[in-house]
Amino acid sequence: MKYALGVMIAALLPLSLASLMTGAASIDIFTAPSDPWALLVLMESRLPRTLAVLLTGAALSVAGMLLQALVRNRFVGPDTVGTSESAALGLLAITFLAPAAPIWIKIAVAAATGLAGTALFVALIRRLPPREIMLVPITGIVLSGVIGAVVTWIAWQADLVQLITTWLMTGEFSGVVAGRYEVLWIAGAAAALAWFAADRFAILSLGDEVATGLGLGTRGVMRLGLVVVSLVSAMVVATVGMIPFIGLVVPNIVSRIMGDNLRQSLPVAAAGGAALLLFCDLIGRLVRYPFEIPVGTVMGFVGAGIFLFLLYRKPAHV
């Protein structure tokens, strides 16, 4: 699988082109530069949407991979350990307390609460019996539920239920236009930053003892990873809403095929996540054209199918 990254990038190009050409208004992207109206549609709606999907898919996959390395467990993703619920809690609080705050402040608050929630999860699972690996995802799901319940409760009291439904239930990209997705670049940048520390994350995934033996400061790496995961989740929740599944599935698939040498596999996970999410977004836009099906719904179905196939395929080595 030396060419995995090449294959992924080759898949991204036609998908991106298709995404640019798909929409209620029919425009020809090749003559767009000379047609001011088509150019407007392209630059204000199609391109932002395509970029938003790519960034979200890539960043969530990388976040999932980091999280799985940090907690040494395959069955968790940024959407199942309480990160997105905590981010939504912060977002809700700032919306409630200071509705006029600029988006940067809101996202900073969401990232901070997301970080607190993820750190709480990590602190909790440290106290679990070490061999019971299945208790880790269960703890994450329970914690998500507890924080999610608080969010729902506040939202009911404040009459903001509509908001949290988009944040936590099904993310979708139909609302993305220029000016409303740019913070996702930060999520992408945070994910890219993680690549530079890829070796450190791979060593940490071997356990605290091995990491200490190799002279790695485990706390610093843990903090860096948690910050990246929280930043990515907060940006995604705040701009398009949580996309289920992708941060869980893509890292699993990539790891099954390529292993966990993160320096090699993180870029593949990023490209793969971007390609998969874009593919699902395209299905959602095309299958009931001109209506749209939220990408979270499509993602659930398509992702589940691929995942089950990979799960029950014979391993490469016996």
């Binding site: 791979a202 071997l206 003892e209 033996g213």
Partner: protein, 252 residues
């Protein structure tokens, strides 16, 4: 020389180590032996800074363990704890290559790759190098971790029960390799051993621990005596000689 002075350790109120003061010699193969719960693993883990030091001080040659950055220690001393199940899907070659990480911090040089290849070869892992860690047997995984520790190429090597999961042939060859590292390359090795005859056959220096205290230390001939071992393990043993070294018998 590793110098331990006044090292004590408690876990949840229970005293595991009591005022240990000892010198572990440089250029020797030192074995820590003793009954279950004697504190030998804890002592090794304290020296290897896998556990934070509570009381006392530990010096590794000229370095004070408590004040030296972990990254610097990693270039001086390699430590391998007992392995638990790890879900990571690293290839064995990647795992062993991480032994060089303290020296290059993410930018491997040609000599790092050469040392990695040597370590894989030395532990008979070259044919398995492309396998994932979760697709090999427990013994093979253990050898891969050992190879990683060897690739770290440090003056000091600390191993906690390295013979776990190894069959007789691999166990023997590991002990022979450790002994050869000491004789030929001037390295110093400290190893926790469960089976006293491996210590009898290969160690230069033995530290016998019981109930968190040092019961005896010195050359194998002096420590591995019928009275000494009987008191250490609270069980009668017979000690004979084989090929100029003690041989401990318990089947009578």
């Amino acid at each position: 020389m590793i110098r331990l002075s006044g090292v004590s350790h408690q876990i949840g109120g229970a005293s595991i180590l009591n005022d240990i003061t000892a010198d572990l010699p440089r250029g020797r193969l030192t074995a820590l032996i003793g009954p279950n719960g004697a504190g030998k693993s804890t002592l090794l883990r304290l020296i290897g800074r896998l556990e934070p030091l509570q009381t006392g001080s530990i010096h590794i040659d000229d370095l004070d363990l408590a004040r030296t950055p972990s990254a610097e220690i990693a270039r001086r001393m390699a430590v391998l704890g007992q392995q638990t199940v790890i879900a990571s899907r690293l290839r064995l070659s990647d795992l062993v290559a991480f032994g060089r990480w303290p020296h290059h911090q993410g930018r491997p040089r040609p000599q790092d790759r050469a040392i990695t290849a040597d370590a894989l070869e030395a532990f008979g892992l070259t044919p398995l190098a492309h396998r994932f860690l979760d697709e090999v047997s427990g013994g093979q995984a253990q050898r891969a971790y050992l190879a990683m520790t060897f690739a770290q190429d440090t003056d000091w090597l600390l191993l906690d029960e390295p013979l776990n999961n190894l069959d007789m042939s691999h166990a023997r060859s590991l002990m022979a390799r450790l002994s050869q590292l000491v004789r030929a390359s001037g390295k110093s090795v400290v190893v926790v051993l469960h089976e006293v005859n491996y210590a009898a056959a290969w160690a230069d220096h033995i530290v016998a621990l019981k109930d968190g205290r040092i019961l005896a230390e010195g050359a194998p001939q002096d420590v591995l005596t019928e009275n000494g071992l009987g008191a250490l393990y609270d069980t009668p043993v017979m000690v004979t000689q084989h090929d100029g070294r003690p041989l401990v018998l318990h089947h009578f």
